[in-house]
Amino acid sequence: MPHDDHVMLESRDLAKTYYSTEPPTQVINGVDLIVRKGEFLVVMGASGSGKSSLLYSISGMDRPTSGTVFLEGRDLTSLSDVEMSRVRLTKMGFIFQQAHFLSNLNIRDNILLPAFKAAPKEKDAAVARVDAIMERFGIAHIKQHGITQVSGGQLQRASLCRALACEPSILFADEPTGALNSSMSTEVMEALTEVHSDGTTLVMVTHAPACAARADRVIYLRDGRLVDSRQLGRWSKEQSTQREDDLLAWLRKLGF
């Protein structure tokens, strides 16, 4: 099938089964999904519906049990571990619910890590770029801090900076506000919205309708199957309440 230039990511008949349980658990069951370039897609669903598993399968963190995933037309499921890690390094960025960092490195070193890894010969350029990103997201003043010395919101913004360090084509976020209070959540969502407005494609898993309302499109999973999707269009601050109400109504209909 010829590749559509507007498509950033596509999954076809994607399935994932965990064999570590008895009996084996099928968490994703034949998901066909297209994420367009520059789109902000949110994945929703009840706990255990397979949201995170879908995110990690389409991002190449985990190998799907069957089906295919294409990133800009390139079949990710056929790549070797080394090739896949190169794709994650240069084309993808990740943000997790818990801000996972290496505790032995300070905030800036953690953010620099992927940049240094991607271009070991261009360290000065990487340092300048990372410093600029940290400045932009308001955490330049904590760059020498250890990860235990800053707030959850600052840490999650640092996660975003690390995800952006290699200027990725697509950003994956797994409940990035799940462990934050409401003000910190807003802080992080503002930053993500800003990144999206720059043209970065964003796929985010969340439980929070207020966060999901910022997306261009929301898909809903149940028992590993994609059961519905809702186009929300471009987000604007003025319409945020209305969008949230519409989304909630739709979610309620789906049994959320």
Binding site: H100, N104, L105, D109, F116, H145
Partner: protein, 800 residues
């Protein structure tokens, strides 16, 4: 409540089957520890029991004095009547035959051979009537009939002799044939360190052998005392009496017992020592595992505390698993020990006696097991005390075992560390390597187990190897009070010893294959000790040129004497001290020129510069071979030409003299090699398994930001390799420095005659092959364990 329904039992059962790899590794360590501890203690108990049993049956003398040549029987009778502390006494007459003069033949199969490989003296005796009996295999006191001989059990084993075999003794007037009736145990000479052994013949055969010539008549004056503790005092009285025969070795009851216990107890002591080392390693691992479990299950602990379970109950719950594991290990180790100790004590039982099974036979292993169990559980309980410090909120909310102040301290430490290391200024190419190094620096406390284990493993493996190579080295002769040379000829006291010496010497000196031929005479001097005189074996000869290595001082000039370490200690003399000696009725004062190490003649020897005259009790001739001449061939040639002389290559002399010791060291070296490798692999596997579980999050992060599994695994393997290599290098350093002193100390305490041991290591094995094998085995374990990571779903590491 039914025991099986107890929550403790269910928890222990579930915990044991949950993490099989870790639990099996821990159990193996504990089983080995228990096994070695019990085997060691059982072997000790059996050895002491066997020696005691033989002493009970054989009634060895409390004091004995050997003597060669004429003596005054009246003087002995007079001495006995003057000393009421003597309970019984006797003079045992013996005939010594060289090993090469005794051959055996098996009529049923036609097999034959001789005893020439044995270097110890073969003494033919008759059975005693009052004490110092030779005991047969059933514990009875056998009487040899005419034409029969009872052979020492040691020979039964080393030459594979059987009852019914014929023994042929070469005398001056022909061959004297005897039939082997059975085998005897000898309380005096049972030890493998003993320099002689006794054959039992009938009175008629003994007289015939004496008349036939070829044997060296010797006597032992033996005394049973009313109180064995008076032996030392009695010895002084005996040695103070000039008229008594005493040109040979004097031995007390305590010495016989000590030598017997020492020679066969060494293995048991080594086992207990090894067991203690293993227990230390097992405890280190247990501590690591328990602390890891507490960290991993901190939320469960928080919940248990929250619902009101007391700390003691939580500790008991976790302890139940280790109770079951240690108990099982003790039972399995104990059963294995019963089997192993049976095998290990077989030769002791044959050489000594079947020790009766008594209360101690059961109590000793049970107490050993109990001490292992209680010690391990006490340490586990100590580590689990950490449960008390867990705070409910910190455990449930932050998943931390630390309380608030500890968390703050930990955070500060981490921040300080993070600030110190700046990746921004890193200009190297390999970011992976940089991460591995910074990890190691930050987590050195957690990785320290590996260097410790590899340090111990290296020490465990190389110390016995170094001892073995030292004792096997031809250069070891410097510890035998002999010069480094290629060939050694021994001429024992006999009628024509002087003419044989002259013949051997002139042949050697005119032989183009030999050079630096030196002769030394074994003379019996007397040394003034307090009021009386004691016998001193002195080797007289020319010590100019490189002869013996001296621990302190140097070679003796005329008017000087060099003493062996044990003699120097015995007479409390040092270099420069003056002493009075007597020989042939003439007294002289000589100065100690130096002190050397000697393991021969029980370590009690001396050396004086002087002309070798005739009339000595024996002679030793050393010679070097010229290029290309084979010492073994030369020795064989001289043995053939001079049957009265024992001519052997120096290497063989060292090997034969020390064969028992080197045999024990070889077994120890093989055992410790297997143990060292085994323990290193098990601990590395155990540590890495737990480490990988705890590093899952970190590996997940690295994978998410674009590190390949190959790079992540390489970091783990690199850290493992580095820590293993560091421990191994430290171990090698210790072995070369402190280890040598430590072993030297043990050897000097053992009273072998060595005060300062320098290793003669096999450099290639110790510094190349062993470290490579050890680290290689550990690394292989790391490779196997990390191989599983490749197929894992990395997201699970971050979502857990």
């Amino acid at each position: 409540m039914n025991e099986r329904n107890s929550p403790y039992f269910r928890y222990a059962y579930n915990a044991l089957i949950k993490d099989k790899g870790v639990n099996i590794a821990l159990a193996v360590l504990l089983i080995l520890s228990a096994f070695l501890m019990v085997t060691g203690s059982m072997v000790m108990e059996r050895s002491i029991g066997s020696v005691d049993q033989l002493f009970e049956e054989a009634k060895p003398p409390h004091y004995l004095q050997m003597h060669k040549g004429d003596y005054d029987p009246d003087a002995l009778t007079r001495f006995a009547s003057d000393h009421p502390e003597i309970d019984a006494w006797l003079v045992e007459e013996m005939l010594g035959f060289d090993s090469a003069a005794i051959a055996w033949h098996r009529p049923s199969t036609g097999e034959s051979g001789d005893l020439a490989d044995s270097l110890i003296d073969n003494l033919f005796v008759t059975q005693q009537e009052e004490f110092d009996f030779l005991i047969d295999e059933t514990g009875a006191i056998p009487q040899a009939s005419r034409g029969e001989v009872y052979v020492p059990v040691a020979y039964q084993q080393s030459f594979g002799l059987q009852a019914g075999d014929k023994l042929a003794i070469r005398t001056d007037t022909g061959i004297h044939d005897l039939r082997i009736r059975g085998f005897v145990r000898d309380s005096q000479m049972a030890s493998s360190l003993s320099s002689a052994t006794r054959f039992l013949v009938s009175e008629a055969d003994f007289q015939e052998l004496g008349r036939a010539g070829g044997g060296t008549p010797e006597i032992i004056a033996e005394y049973r005392l009313t109180d064995p503790s008076l032996a030392s005092e009695f010895q002084r009285a005996y040695e103070g009496d000039k008229a008594l025969p005493k040109n040979g070795q004097a031995v007390t009851y305590q010495m016989i017992r000590l030598v017997n216990a020492f020679s066969d107890g060494l293995v048991a002591v080594a086992m207990v020592f090894l067991s203690l080392l293993l227990i230390a390693i097992a405890l280190l691992s247990l501590r690591f595992v328990i602390r890891g479990t507490l960290e991993e299950e901190v939320r469960e602990i928080g919940v248990m505390k929250a619902i009101g379970l007391p700390d003691q109950a939580i500790v008991s719950l976790y302890l139940s698993k280790y109770r079951v594991m240690t108990l099982l290990a003790c039972i399995i180790g104990g059963v294995l020990a019963v089997i192993a100790s049976g095998l290990l004590t077989r030769s002791i039982q044959v050489n000594y006696a079947q020790a009766p099974v008594g209360l101690t036979t059961i109590l000793v292993p049970v107490l050993a097991l109990l001490s292992v169990y209680l010690f391990v559980i006490a340490i586990c309980r100590g580590v689990l005390r950490g449960v008390r410090k867990v705070q409910v909120v910190n455990a449930l909310v932050h998943g931390s075992t630390l309380h608030e102040r500890q968390t703050a301290r930990h955070a500060k430490r981490q921040a300080r560390r993070a600030r110190r290391t700046s990746l921004a200024s890193y200009r190297g190419r390999s970011i992976s390597r940089r991460l591995a190094f910074s990890d190691l620096r930050a987590e050195s406390g957690q990785w320290v187990l590996i260097p410790i284990v590899f340090f111990l493993g290296t020490v465990l493996m190389t110390l016995p190897l170094n001892l073995l190579s030292t004792f096997e080295s031809p250069r070891f002769v410097t510890y035998m009070g002999a010069p480094e040379s290629d060939v050694r000829a021994d001429l024992q006291f006999s009628k024509d010893v002087d003419s044989v010496r002259a013949d051997v010497l002139s042949s050697m000196r005119s032989d183009g294959q030999l050079t630096q031929v030196r002769v030394f005479a074994n003379e019996l001097y007397e040394i003034q000790e307090g009021e009386g005189w004691e016998t001193l074996r002195v080797e007289v000869g020319d010590y100019s040129g490189a002869t013996v290595e001296f621990l302190e001082g140097g070679r003796p000039e005329p008017g000087q004497i060099a003493l062996s370490v044990l003699n120097a200690n015995r007479f409390q003399l040092s270099t420069g001290s003056k002493l009075t000696i007597r020989h042939g009725g003439e007294s002289a004062t000589v100065v100690v020129s130096g002190i050397y190490q000697d393991v021969t003649s029980g370590g009690h020897t001396a050396k004086m510069q002087g002309e070798v005259t005739t009339g000595a009790s024996g002679y030793v001739i050393y010679a070097n071979t010229v290029d290309r001449a084979d010492p073994a061939a030369v020795a064989a040639q001289y043995s053939e030409r001079f049957p009265a002389a024992t001519v052997i290559p120096m290497r063989e002399y060292v090997q034969q003299t020390l064969s028992h010791t080197t045999g024990a060291f070889r077994s120890a070296a093989i055992m410790s090699f297997i143990f060292g490798i085994g323990v290193a692999v098990v601990i590395t596997g155990l540590f890495l398994k737990l480490r990988l579980t705890r590093e899952r999050r970190k590996m997940g992060i690295l994978s998410a930001i674009g590190f390949s599994m190959g790079e992540i695994v390489a970091q783990v393997k690199g850290k493992a390799l580095l820590t293993m290599a560091a421990g191994t290098l430290l171990g090698l350093g210790f072995v070369a420095t402190g280890g040598e002193s430590l072993v030297g100390l043990f050897i000097s305490l053992a009273g072998l005659g060595i005060a300062n041991l320098s290793f003669i290591p096999n450099l290639l094995l110790v510094y190349v092959a062993y470290p490579v094998i050890l680290v290689g085995a550990g690394y292989l374990g790391a490779v196997v364990l990390t191989a599983r990571l490749h197929g894992a779903d990395k997201s699970l590491w971050l979502r857990a």
